[in-house]
Symmetry: C2
């Protein structure tokens, strides 16, 4: 449905030629994200200034037209698919690093800055921003914040919610505002910063972020441990997390995933019942004792082999299995269902065991791997045809029910978007959802921001 | 104003004898907090169960009566003073530690558990909960969460917002709800947990908290550095925070405070232009290099003496000045005005310099000390009589204006309560405050929870 001419006029007043498109080719390019879902927007705009975003939200609100903020569309949940049409605001051109301030351990960035570009810019200062999704080279900070996207390092350094000091944004009511601080501590009113992080563009459009930086440890050491079975590996995870040295990555890969990666990546990938990839970081003088502590915890019933990389070359070899995993899965199932459930670490053995049973019950191939130190596992269902796809969807409901029964939740880092919306009542009480809806109304009274996402 | 008989009846149905009081002696005991402000409530109740809190909120809402949640009243902002009368709910008897779960690095507690009691209970497991306000032995976790209270350790380990996984609570609309997770990572809907933390009982009453635990480092080392002047010390703070080893305490004490503490505490307290107390923690094998790194950063223009404690005895001696400070201030000014402004660390020199100028301009004694690693300074104005008190209040407005001009904010850890409400528009834009008011309405549509606090 084309936009009303009055709205288009308003948008033309706000966006110069080239920063607003209603051409079908461009609309098609912004119709989908990494969920492979898709829906055509009526227009695409490319803001570069906060004031444009205010004008944009006001214009859309005045016409009751949906507005969907988009980073780089690397999310897997359909969070940026404009299911109800309207305007997609792609922040890819609002991508300046405004300030790098090592003395105050902060950086101020526009939302379109790529995660990887920020990390590069921080390197000479000896700092990094901890959130490290796999898509870091091509995903934007704005998207990371919208989805509370994380990665392996979260186990030690936290997610965007723990690594953001303040935001500038435009609420769904059209009002620009700042929240949070430029300081590492603050108790001045409600925490709107964390409320926006993970809200998937349903409350406000972020136009600037003040990020908390962390000093980059100067050394890192990689360990690889293989186990007889997934239970032994899961129990090792719990032991590692119960001792004082927190690794900066603690990744789990199950037997099915190892087999896949081995078939695809070759003999450098071990075959085993399960594998842990562990990284510890710190200052060089501290690393030997850190490795010893983590290695001691990794040892235990079911351990088959524990290797510590002695060189960069060996480190690369140890990570080969993990790297081979994604392409290997795609060759089997281009339409894999990619979940990222999370349970308390001590319930990992029950989770991986339960998933094996569900895989057998529904006759669907499932590989399980991911950020075990947070109890956050990627449960990937790999249906190869339509019949398997139907079974996979039935299996998925059982997976979520299992996760909830283990005190877990639907998503550790991917978010809800479209694909997990229907499962929200499984994870959250009706009263909690009602409060979330009230908050939605508080920011976006007409419900124009990213309709059809997050809240059921 | 006595409560309506119908409301009293409802409360009697909910609270057994001894858990509800309208006796004046008891109401007087719950009329004030550590702000020394005071206002008499009409009744005091002592909930011990979540269901009682639901019934309580519903009853107060039905009768339009104010309801003020109270931990132990150790806050300094009047946050628990029932300025509009009504019911005070003291959580002191709802104080069970429900679960300590080291494998999952979490503890589940009721709000009345004392911070110090929790730390004691965690010790045998090798964990701690990082927030460490000075009042830790007698302040409650519920109060810590309500005010986002922190302490020296925050510089390395974060405030309650970074150390809480989930909450159970009752919103001002009378609905009980759970939010957050039992996992160290989550991306399932809006972050209500952080929204409640620091909301000072204006949105909901917390009835249970799932706290994130941190492994307790097995060793700690204390350093004391004295400087020629406050500027040199403030610049040392910025240098320390710009290098990779983050201390677990980085406390600043200015010359006026040192003089006071010296007069009160004796010769073990050094006289100097300013002093830093620095602690580093970690595993024993890592401490020497950590101390070296921090000491190197502490050295620089203006350093007079740097001492590293070699024993527990020496550590106690080094901390003597900091400990002597509070009693020393009280002897001078029983009505000290106790602020806790915060600025980016690199602006500390400008802050301490500006405060010296304001002290001279308004002719009011000001001592400045506190958590310099977070840029969070306690600015204590010490008026000795009524005339000085009037000047002190004028000075305070200038202090806040200075702080805002330095990209800082009103409070790092004390919160807003009654005493800083009027200054909120200085720190926050009108649009931000409007969103906070919308959120207040979303949780507490009739405005019964802690009226007259936080929002202007």
């Amino acid at each position: 449905m084309p936009l009303a001419p009055a709205l288009l006029n308003l948008l033309h007043e706000t966006f110069p030629v080239g920063a607003l498109s209603i051409a079908e080719a461009e609309r098609l390019a912004y119709a989908y994200d990494n969920s492979r879902l898709n829906a055509l927007p009526d227009a695409v705009v490319f803001p570069t200034e906060h004031a444009q975003v205010e004008a944009l939200v006001r214009a859309c609100r005045a016409h009751g037209v949906p507005l969907v903020a988009r980073g780089r569309g690397s999310n897997t949940t359909g969070a940026t698919v404009p299911v109800q049409g309207g305007v997609v605001a792609s922040f890819e051109r609002m991508n300046r690093i405004l300030r790098i301030d090592p003395d105050n351990r902060l950086a101020v960035v526009e939302p379109g800055v790529l995660n990887g570009d920020l990390q590069q810019a921080l390197l000479p200062f000896g700092f990094f921003w901890p959130p490290d999704p796999t898509s870091a080279p091509w995903c934007s900070i704005g998207g990371n914040l919208a989805c509370n996207s994380a990665g392996p390092r979260t186990v030690k350094y936290g997610s965007p919610r723990e690594n953001t000091l303040g935001l500038r944004a435009v609420a769904g009511n059209g009002e620009g505002f700042r929240c949070g601080t430029y300081t590492s501590k603050g108790a001045t009113g409600y925490d709107l910063t964390r409320l926006l992080i993970g809200s998937e563009g349903t409350l406000a459009l972020i136009t600037e972020a003040t990020l908390k930086l962390t000093p980059k440890p100067s050394a890192v050491r990689t360990l690889r441990a293989t186990y007889r079975d997934v239970g032994s590996a899961a129990r090792a995870v719990a032991r590692i997390m119960a001792q004082p040295v927190t690794p900066c990555a603690l990744e789990f890969i199950d037997d099915v995933a190892l087999k896949l990666a081995h078939d695809h990546g070759g003999d450098s990938v071990p075959l085993a019942g399960a594998m842990l990839m562990i990284e510890v970081d710190g200052e060089p003088a501290t690393l030997d004792s850190a490795v010893d502590a983590v290695a001691a915890a990794a040892r235990g019933d079911g351990l088959e082999e524990l290797r510590v990389a002695q060189s960069a070359e060996e480190t690369r070899a140890l990570w080969a299995a993990r790297k081979a995993l994604s392409p290997a899965q795609r060759t089997i199932s281009p339409n894999k269902i990619n979940e990222d459930v999370v349970v308390p670490v001590s319930h990992l053995p029950a989770l991986v065991d339960g998933i094996k049973q569900l895989s057998a019950k529904h006759d669907v191939l499932i590989v399980t791997f991911g950020h075990a130190g947070n109890g956050n596992l990627h449960v990937n269902l790999l249906p190869r045809d339509d019949a398997e796809r139907a079974r996979a969807h039935a299996c998925l409901a059982d997976v979520f029910a299992l996760v909830i029964s283990l005190e877990g939740t639907l998503s550790g880092e991917h978010g809800i978007g479209m694909v997990k919306r229907a499962f929200m009542p499984l994870a959250l009480e009706a009263s909690t959802l009602a409060l979330m809806r009230n908050i939605k109304t508080a920011f976006d009274p007409d419900g124009i921001l990213n309709p059809g996402k997050l809240l059921p």
